[in-house]
């Protein structure tokens, strides 16, 4: 029964990710005085792409054609670790945060390989940029998550969230820092505006788009879907670690439904905030990304420090 709910949760994750992307696009269009496409446009795009025939270069090796499947499944596995509507599910109990980062890391590894594999200049450039960003973002993310781990004395997300939930409303200075750090990292990792612009194909600035430039058809659909899934994953991480209220602790239909409503509400709000920041903030020069991410790392470090200095027992 628990496994069924866990699988249901993962399916929900996969199914809702394009909806979040559509909602984000709606918010941005509204803020920029444009007419928004339908909320379900990402689904239609994915469907259209799966119907089309993928065009693969003759020089492409097996890495290029297999990579989308590996990336998509690794991202789904990562999503299965994150509690979406309920805690204490068997999938999230079997893996912790470090495994989550590992899944995302392996997905990124294959994406970078695929970018290099085809041998175009853009692909290689995108891969090198992506690895630069991620090598700086991963320590910052781990720092932020370790703050939660220290507070809850576990690296398991589900147990940690339950701990935060049962503690009631405790104002933790370290969580303020960890929240800021995780938001900065999430923006960098999902390739949103100050770091990378997901809608541009300008050669000077693109990172993610440069790597997937050669993809088409169902391969492109899978990669797009995986990146939408990653965006949602980070949103859920931020929402559920720091504001876990509403997540289901028992597996009754009412509790699960309430949990689903809560997480959708939280993600709606987060998407509005993200759209606002993307409209206000300008894209950063690539060489300033290192400053941005070292600031995120510093925030994570300060979170750990303030946990030790301000909160821990002595």
């Amino acid at each position: 029964m628990n496994w069924l709910i866990a699988i249901f949760q993962v399916l929900l994750f996969v199914a809702l990710a394009p909806l979040l992307a559509g909602w984000l696009k709606c918010c941005k269009c509204f803020l920029q005085n444009r007419r928004a496409p339908s909320l379900f446009q990402p689904y239609r795009d994915l469907l259209k792409l799966t119907r089309k025939q993928p065009v693969v270069s003759e020089q492409a090796s097996w890495v290029f054609t297999r990579a989308p499947y590996i990336i998509f499944s690794a991202t789904i596995l990562a999503a299965s670790v994150v509690p979406l509507i309920a805690v204490n599910l068997p999938t999230s109990a079997s893996a912790d945060v470090i495994v989550l980062v590992g899944f995302l890391g392996s997905a990124r590894f294959f994406l970078a390989l695929a970018g290099l594999d085809i041998g175009t200049a853009f692909g290689g450039m995108g891969s090198s940029r992506e690895m630069t960003v991620s090598s700086l973002a991963e320590p910052a993310m781990l720092m932020a998550v370790f703050t939660l781990s220290m507070a809850a004395s576990t690296t398991n997300l589900s147990v940690g969230i339950t701990h935060v939930l049962n503690e009631g409303l405790v104002l933790r200075p370290s969580f303020v820092f960890a929240l800021c750090a995780l938001v900065l990292v999430a923006v960098a990792e999902t390739g949103r505006i100050p770091i990378d612009n997901p809608t541009t194909h300008l050669e000077l600035t693109m990172i993610h788009e440069a790597m997937i430039l050669e993809y088409s058809g169902r391969h492109l659909a899978l990669i797009e879907w995986a990146s939408q899934l990653k965006l949602m994953l980070y949103g859920v991480l931020i929402a559920n670690i720091f504001f876990p209220w509403g997540i289901a602790e028992t597996f009754t239909p009412a509790a699960l439904g309430y949990g689903l409503l809560c997480i959708m509400g939280k993600l709606t709000l987060l998407a509005i905030i993200l759209a606002l920041s993307e409209t206000v903030v300008a894209k950063m020069r690539l060489f300033r990304v290192q400053e941005y991410l070292s600031f995120a790392y510093l925030l994570g470090l300060l979170g750990m420090l303030s946990h030790i200095i301000l909160e821990a027992s002595r």
């Binding site: 104002l171 933790r172 290192q290």
Partner: protein, 225 residues
């Protein structure tokens, strides 16, 4: 003492302490003068909120006066004055290139650890939560000094100086639950006078060396080389 066992008031004070520390870090890495002044005003606002909170929880009416004074001086007047000077000298578009920002930030983090380490022996004696906040305020003082060392613009030095004062003020509010009114009034007017004097000095420095970059002061000589 775990944070879960503390009452809500202490938790808020500790969060405020963390946020004040964060604003110090934000100031440390800021190359643009207007943003530096804005973050400084934000720190003043946090101080005001902390003072008002202490006043409310201790039912100590004279702290409200001190909160209002902080609001008027450190959130409104001094930032406004500094901003006006920056605009007058047409420096609001300059971005100061900080040499090695990452090292600066990590230096700031190690100063935070250091201040905690220094205060550790004292912390054993009194209420731990309050003295934890004291460690943060000491680190705000040290970070203010680091800000003065690392930046070259005279206005950034003034902001660093004022943030040192903010750190001391925070320590006073949190650790002693408010100093006597006379002392607070005295400090407030000292700060006010200092701000005005700095303003005058800016114009003097600028008229004599045609810049507010204090590194150029090293090259002042009686005779031209």
């Amino acid at each position: 003492m775990n944070i879960v066992e503390q009452d809500f008031y202490t938790q808020i004070i500790l969060s405020m302490a963390a946020l004040v520390g964060l604003t110090s870090f934000l100031m440390l890495g800021q190359g643009r003068l207007l943003r530096l002044i804005f973050v400084f005003a934000l720190q003043g606002l946090l101080l005001t909120l902390t003072t008002a909170l202490v006043a409310y929880s201790l039912d100590n009416p004279h702290l409200y006066i001190s909160a209002v004074m902080t609001l008027a001086l450190k959130v409104i007047f001094i930032p406004w004055m500094l901003r006006r000077e920056v605009m007058q000298m047409n420096m609001h578009r300059d971005v100061e290139a900080l040499s090695n920002k990452t090292a600066l930030m990590l230096g700031g983090a190690s100063l935070t650890v250091f201040s905690y380490y220094v205060l550790h022996p004292i912390v054993q004696t009194t209420s731990p939560a309050m003295l934890n906040a004291l460690a943060v305020s000491l680190s705000v003082v040290l970070l203010g000094m680091l800000l003065m060392i690392s930046h070259r613009q005279a206005i950034a030095h003034v902001v660093g100086f004022m943030s040192i004062e903010n750190g001391l003020f925070f320590a006073a509010i949190v650790a002693t639950n408010g100093m006597p009114m006379v002392v607070e009034l005295g400090i407030a007017f000292d700060v006010l006078v200092a701000a005005v004097l700095f303003g005058i000095f800016f114009f003097h420095i600028r008229s004599s060396i045609d810049s507010l970059d204090v590194d150029k002061l090293n090259r002042l000589n009686e005779v031209d080389k």
